[in-house]
Amino acid sequence: MRKLIRTVLLVDLLRGLWVTLRNQHPKHIYTEQYPAQRPKVAERFRGAPRLNINPDTGETLCIGCNLCALACPENLIVVGTERDPKTNRKVLTTFTYDTSRCMFCGLCEDACPVDALELTQDFELASYTREGQIWDRQMLEEGPRPTQYKS
C-alpha cells in the first residue's frame, strides 16, 4: 500500500529532482572559463619542457651529458655537443625535443644531474605544423609564447 502511494505520488522521481534543484545554486558552478581565465596548474605539473639557463650569466646549465636522451623511452631528445678546444670540455651546441612524441612522463627530468631540463607549468603546446612541435634549443630556453586572450 505504502509502495503504491509512493509510486502514484512520484516520490522516487521527485527526490531525484530535488537533488538536481539543490545543485542549481550558483555556488555550485564549476565551469572554468578557459582562454579568458587560465587555470592555475599545480606546482609539479609536467608540461612544456624548458632548458634552464643561469639567470646571471645567461649560459645554459646543461652540461651535455646526454643522460636525458638515454632515459627517454621515446628517444625524442637529441643532444648535440662539441669539445671546446681550449678547456677540453663538452659544450652544448644543439638540443632538440620533439613534443609531439613526448608523453610527459618526467623520466628525462629525473635523469638530469644538474636540473637543466625541467617540465614546466605551461600546457599550451599546440602548433600549426608538425615541425612546429619539434622544439629547438632557443625555444626550449625562452619558452613558448602562447597567445593571451582577453575577455
Binding site: T7, V11, D12, L13, R15, G16, W18, V19, T20, N23, Y30, V41, A42, E43, R44, F45, R46, A71, C72, P73, M103, F104, C105, G106, L107, D110, L119
Partner: protein, 370 residues
C-alpha cells in the same frame, strides 16, 4: 539472404560501433537480431591496439612504466602499481612502509575516480544525463590531488620501481581528508538520484544476468563477479601493499544483474573512503624509495603478480632473461576477460539493453586492445 523478402526475413545482422557513443570507445559489436531480441553477438576488438606488450620488450624496466598507464587510462595508478609490484617481486625488494601507504591512498582514490567515470557514463547510456555532471565534478577533485602529487592528471606515472619518485606535497593529508568528507554525502546523492528511480530500476533489474558459475567459467573478476555473490577480492585474497592491515568489507550481491553491479560499485566507493581514512592515519615519516640499483637488471626468472584494479584482476606476467629489458611482458587486463562474457549476457536481451550491459561491464578499450 537470397530468396527472402523483407517480411519473412527474421534475422537481421546489425553493426554496433566502432563509432557508437555507447560502446565506450572503439568496440564493434555485431548483433544478430530477431526483431528487437538479440540472439547472438560477436565482439570485434583491436581498433586501439598499440602493441604495449611488444613495446615492453624493447624498453628497459624503468622506461616501460609510463606505458602501462596508457592501458587503462581511467585507472592509471592501479596499472602502475601492478607493474611496479611485479618488477619489485622479480628484484626481491619491497617498497618502504611510507611508500606503501601512499600507494594505497592513491590507488583507492583512483578506484573512486574510475567508478565515478563509470557511473556517469553508464547513467548517460541509460538516459540519465545529470549524474555525469556530478560525478565528473567529484572526479575532478581526485584528479587535482593527482596533479598536485605527481604533476599529471590521467596518465600519472606516480610510482617507480621500489617506491615513489615524489615526496608527498604539503597539505596532501588535508586535501585527501577533505575529499573523503566531501565525497561520502555525494555518494548518497547519486543514490538518491538513481537507486529508487523507477526508470533506472526498470532498465537495470534482471538485465544481463551472469551467475556465479558463468562468471567463474569465463574468468570474470571484479565487481561483476562480486555482484553474482562471490566474495572474491584480491585485496583480501592475496593482500599486497599491506592491504591485510586495513579493515574493510567486500560488498557482494546475489542476483548478478546490472542493478546489483551498480549497487556493488557504489558500496565499493564507500569502502575505498574507509580504506583511505585508515591509511591517512598510518602515514609515518621515513624513506619513500627502497634500495634499488640504478640500472635495473633482475635475475633470470619469471613472475606473475595480480592486483585488484577497479575493473577486476589485473595481472602482469614478466619473464626476465637477466638483461635490462624484459624478455616478455604479458598483461592480463580485467576488461578484456570480462568482455568475453558479453555474448552470454546479451542473449535474449533487447537491443536497448545491450547498451546497458556494455556499460555495466565497465570496459576501457585501451586495456582490451592494449
Amino acid at each position: 539472404m537470397a530468396g527472402s523478402t523483407f517480411l519473412d526475413s527474421s534475422e537481421l545482422v546489425l553493426n554496433m560501433g566502432p563509432q557508437h557513443p555507447s560502446t565506450h570507445g572503439v568496440l564493434r559489436v555485431i548483433l544478430k537480431l530477431d526483431g528487437e531480441k538479440v540472439i547472438g553477438t560477436e565482439c570485434v576488438i583491436g581498433y586501439l591496439h598499440r602493441g604495449v606488450e611488444k613495446i615492453g620488450e624493447n624498453r628497459t624496466y624503468v622506461q616501460f612504466a609510463p606505458y602501462v598507464d596508457r592501458m587503462d587510462y581511467v585507472a592509471a595508478v592501479s596499472n602502475g602499481l601492478g607493474y611496479c609490484l611485479a618488477v619489485e617481486k622479480l628484484l626481491s625488494v619491497e617498497a618502504p612502509p611510507r611508500a606503501q601507504v601512499t600507494r594505497v591512498i592513491l590507488t583507492e582514490l583512483n578506484r573512486i575516480a574510475s567508478h565515478l567515470l563509470w557511473l556517469g557514463t553508464h547513467a548517460l547510456d541509460i538516459g540519465a544525463i545529470t549524474p555525469l555532471f556530478y560525478t565528473l565534478r567529484e572526479r575532478e577533485e581526485v584528479l587535482k590531488i593527482f596533479e598536485k602529487y605527481c604533476g599529471a592528471r590521467l596518465t600519472t606515472h606516480a610510482f617507480r620501481i621500489g617506491g615513489l619518485q615524489y615526496e608527498l606535497y604539503d597539505g596532501f593529508e588535508e586535501d585527501v581528508a577533505k575529499f573523503c568528507d566531501m565525497f561520502l554525502p555525494k555518494v548518497d546523492e547519486y543514490e538518491e538520484l538513481l537507486t529508487d528511480n523507477r526508470i533506472w530500476v526498470e532498465r537495470l533489474k534482471g538485465v544481463g544476468i551472469l551467475t556465479a558459475e558463468q562468471c567463474k567459467a569465463y574468468g570474470v573478476t571484479g565487481p561483476v563477479l562480486r555482484a553474482a555473490g562471490v566474495a572474491w577480492d584480491l585485496r583480501k585474497a592475496q593482500p599486497y601493499s599491506g592491504y591485510e592491515q586495513y579493515d574493510f568489507d567486500i560488498p557482494i550481491r546475489q542476483n548478478g544483474d546490472t542493478f546489483d553491479r551498480y549497487i556493488v560499485r557504489m558500496e565499493e566507493m564507500r569502502q575505498s573512503v574507509r580504506i583511505i581514512r585508515q591509511a591517512l592515519e598510518r602515514i609515518e615519516p621515513g624513506p619513500i624509495m627502497a634500495k634499488v640499483p640504478k640500472v635495473i637488471k633482475p635475475p633470470v626468472g619469471e613472475v606473475y603478480v595480480s592486483i585488484e584494479a577497479p575493473k577486476g584482476e589485473l595481472g602482469y606476467f614478466i619473464v626476465s632473461d637477466g638483461s635490462t629489458q624484459p624478455y616478455r611482458v604479458r598483461v592480463r587486463p580485467p576488461s578484456f576477460v570480462n568482455l568475453q562474457a558479453l555474448d552470454q549476457m546479451c542473449r535474449g536481451a533487447l537491443v536497448a539493453d545491450v547498451v546497458a550491459i556494455i556499460g555495466t561491464i565497465d570496459i576501457v578499450l585501451g586495456e582490451v586492445d592494449r
